[in-house]
Amino acid sequence: MAQINATPTSRPVLLVLALALVVLLCYGMRVAFEKPGTALKAEMLASAGAGTSFTLEDGARIPGTGNILVEDELVAVQRVTAEGSPVNSGILLLNNQHTFKVVERGAAGTKVTNHAAGASVKEPGTLFFPENFASFGDEVDELFYLILWITGIAFILTEGFFLFCVFSFWAKPGMRAHHLHGHHTLELVWTLVPAIILVALALLQAGMWKSMKMEIPLADSPDVFEVQVAAQQFQWNFRVAGSDGKFATPDDVPSVGELHVPVGKKVRVVQRSIDVIHCFFLPNYRVKQDVVPGLAVPVWFDTSRAGRFPIMCAELCGLGHTKMGGTLVVHETADFKTWLEKESTLWTSENDGQDRPDWSGASSKIWWWWDQHDVGVHYQGEKTNR
């Protein structure tokens, strides 16, 4: 069979093609990333002022929560019930009517609510990860960029050498390849060098992981604020202790979809699920933890700035998974106090913790269930005092 040999003249052509591919790829991504997501724009948003509500008709699409970019202006919207109370969960089917409220709107390019969802699209300085607000997050991001550097250099060296070979070693008539079966020293070098780098990387991160996932602050310290998360298909339920600072008492404040915490605290989160596995993901806090039925796995983060941040469900939990979002609301200390007082009177007067009508509303049976079936805080196979 004829072996076609690449002639030296075809090499520049190949080189140009390869470069063109790289340039095209970069350009395509650049264009695509720069373009705002106009396709989801709802017409009625353009005119709705802050505080007003509007209803989406059949088929119109809008995110359930967070911010939307309308002609370069960020608009914070929230899905609400007909009475105007917030809904952050439940399945948003395409052909249902939904009412939304415009929470706030801002001028072009400004962030409506501090660093809220959506803002990350144009945030400076975050090439890959969304903006970080957790104290341990900086370390995580540094580790990420360190690995990016190491792998980037490894990438350039290996792929560079590869491309050099690809362009240099096409067969020439009558020539034979270098007859070499291997090289002992080389093998040693390229085993040991990556081994050292990988071991160093492994050691470097062990402490970080420990402080993020193993050293969960305990609730008895004054700078720790504890919240409980009860996940269910397809909704996030949250509970914070009322003014007595204790859970399972009548002044507890339950909420659905919105987690309210004060600024400047370590937030200790204890999470359980009543049905399937969910995953509590705070992209701006570098927090992700599966919520597993039968376990009560703790995680933590700290709050440094007030604002609204997205909560996402990162583990497939069924057909409503895609809409299982929520919002983390970090309040200034004084605001939080006001909010807590208002809410705890609301809830204590409404029910005494006994009579919980259903599983889906904020006054739900779910907290009754939580208190009935207390499993303590534990990981798989191990109860922990953390």
Binding site: A32, G66, I68, L295
Partner: protein, 608 residues
């Protein structure tokens, strides 16, 4: 048994009836056309079984590919109908509803892993190439070999039916984590379990066969360290399969029992179903993940080790140069297989497993990158100072090496536990998977098809078509998968029907549309391969040359195509290592394993 006496008689019995019908049909064919039966259907010949695996996997790849395009379609134009899916699957929404989206990605992955990649690598190329390469007359157990192919058919039928049962199809992801996979209504998930169960049996039958064949049936002179790397990789892969698959089989059986017989292996206490707290339970949800990944981490290596072996063979041939560091290549294969059994927990860093364990798994995972790196350096050194031939298998092997680098490097991000917190369950994982399984494995398969095609069918594939297919696929591949690294790290979740529900993901719509358009081109390019493959079988250029690529390994010492049962018309004997290219003292630039040293007796013709 539940499946047989279920209330919905038609639905749950139909797959069984179809399987029964298939058996009857086979029996009939055996009566009417025994020759046809024993040649094309229940053939004990490893070459025919290899081709059977090849053809059925390529056909399933069409299904898997269509489902992938359905997923991509939803991500680019959410809520709109995928063209043709209404008719194809009978979904009134044409794939726009979240439950159908879930079925699409679940079945895409399941089909691609269980019906395409594993059978292609191990079933098709393992079967066809290994006995020829080690100079065996056939596999050790021809009956078991045929059984391992035909056990795929019940699996095919169950999986295919799972789309059409009322209620949900299988939509809990290819990982099928309980309790979700137990609370899924409808029989789709049950059929999925049955399908996986049969695939497991098929794999085990194959593995026993490969190990026995390679250990016991090598030709004279074919010592283990003269074996080509394809055969080595199939040996190692088979050991992985043999040790890991029973665990998957058990896990799936437990899941089936939980679903159908009321056991509660994976059912936790105090779970709430239909608004009522359940009295049953006491099982461990995470147990499934341990069992599943104990199989599936080795399985991801099953998805790539044979490809590594084939690429090593093809690369040496393409470069006209010995594989650099043959022994380190073998040792790193073994190291990967060994370490592959102690890293499963890296899929479970965020699962609620005790985080102290996560640390252990992190260190083991970092270590498994090492043998992978060693292999990469050896391939690069193989290319260095070589004499590359411009052939399709050259291009495909080169693509393998370069894409493998990207997939391996992205693994290091995920192995770093704190970084994995951010990218777990996002599109960054999807990018990692596809750079390895598509970018590496599938490209090596494309190359392997082209490389061994003459030996299989006695014809060659059309070269311009093959180039076209390669180039379009390579370019479209980059556009389809590279941006996923970026959107993933920015928080775009996988397995999410409508990610734009989240305000922070909205800006990613345009880049997703870019990826989808590229994916559509990528899909269309595979038609070129399909046309070339089937057309060449009947109309390709006839090739009768024994050794068209001037290769050194034993399979090229058979007639093209090899003679029926028995393969060789000469007594195969290996006289040297597998990669004697470019020896400056030899007459030609390659000295095959089967070429007797100068001065020794001519090979004796094989008496038939």
């Amino acid at each position: 048994m539940h499946l047989l006496e279920a209330t919905d008689f038609n639905v749950t019995t139909t797959p069984w009836l179809v399987i029964l019908g298939l058996c009857v049909l086979m029996a009939l064919v055996r009566l009417i056309a025994p020759k046809f039966y024993s040649h094309y259907l229940w053939s004990g010949d490893h070459k025919m079984i290899g081709k059977q695996f090849l053809v059925s996997s390529l056909l399933w790849a069409v299904v898997g590919g269509a489902l992938a395009l359905g997923v991509r379609w939803q991500l680019a134009w959410p809520g709109s109908e995928v063209p043709g899916f209404k008719a194809l699957f009978g979904w009134p929404d044409g794939g726009a509803a979240p439950e159908h989206y879930n079925i699409m990605f679940t079945m895409h992955a399941s089909v691609m892993i269980f019906f395409v990649i594993i059978p292609l690598l191990v079933g098709a190329f393992g079967n066809f190439v290994v006995p020829l390469q080690i100079g065996a007359q056939d596999m050790a157990f021809p009956f078991l070999n045929a059984l391992s192919y035909w056990l795929m058919w019940p699996a095919f039928i169950f999986m295919a039916f799972s789309f059409y049962v009322p209620g949900d199809g299988a939509g809990a992801g290819w990982t099928s984590y309980p309790p979700l996979s137990e609370t899924m209504l409808g029989d789709g998930q049950t059929l999925w379990c049955m399908g996986v169960w049969f695939v497991g049996w098929s794999s085990i039958c194959g593995a026993v066969n490969y190990i026995t064949t390679i250990v016991k049936m090598r030709a004279k002179g074919m010592t283990l360290f003269r074996m080509p790397l394809t055969s080595w990789s199939i040996l190692i892969t088979s050991i992985l399969v043999l040790c890991a698959t029973p665990v998957l089989g058990s896990a799936v059986t437990m899941l089936l029992m939980d679903r159908e017989f009321g056991s509660s292996f994976f059912v936790p206490a105090a779970r709430v179903v239909s608004d009522a707290a359940q009295a049953t339970g006491g099982g461990q949800v995470i147990l499934w993940q341990h069992l599943f990944w104990f199989y599936s981490h080795p399985a991801v290596y099953i998805l790539v080790l044979p490809a590594m072996g084939m690429v090593s063979d093809m690369l040496a041939n393409a470069c006209r140069k010995p594989v650099f560091g043959y022994r380190p290549m073998v040792y790193s294969l073994i190291a990967i297989a060994f370490l592959g059994f102690v890293v499963w927990g890296h899929h479970m860093f965020q699962s609620g497993m005790n985080p102290a364990l996560g640390r252990t798994f992190m260190i083991a995972t970092m270590m498994i990158a090492l043998p992978s790196a060693v292999k990469t350096f050896n391939w690069l050194a193989t290319i260095y100072r070589s004499q590359m031939q411009l052939e399709v298998h050259t291009l495909c092997s080169l693509a393998f090496v370069s894409m493998w680098i990207i997939g391996g490097l992205s693994g290091i991000f995920m192995a770093a536990t704190p970084v994995d917190i951010q990218i777990h369950d996002t599109y960054a994982i999807v990018a990692h998977i596809h750079y390895i399984v598509f970018g590496s494995t599938l490209f090596s398969v494309f190359g392997a098809i082209y490389y061994w095609y003459p030996k299989m069918f006695g014809r060659t594939m059309n070269k311009p078509l093959a180039y076209t297919h390669f180039i379009v696929t390579f370019v479209a591949f980059q556009f389809t998968f590279f941006p996923m690294h970026v959107v993933g790290s920015r928080g775009m979740l996988r397995r999410t029907a409508d990610p734009y529900f989240y305000g922070n993901l909205q800006g990613m719509l345009p880049v997703n549309q870019l990826m989808t358009v590229a994916a559509l081109i990528l899909g269309a390019a595979q038609l070129v391969l399909a046309i070339n493959f089937f057309w060449s079988m009947f109309a390709g250029k006839v090739c009768t040359e024994r050794n068209p690529w001037k290769a050194t390994t034993m399979e090229w010492n058979t007639p093209t195509p090899p003679v029926g049962h028995g393969n060789f018309d000469v007594i195969p004997e290996a006289h040297r290592g597998p990669y004697e290219y470019a020896d400056p003292d030899a007459a030609e630039d390659f000295t095959p394993q089967f070429q007797a040293p100068a001065g020794s007796a001519k090979p004796v013709p094989h008496a038939h």
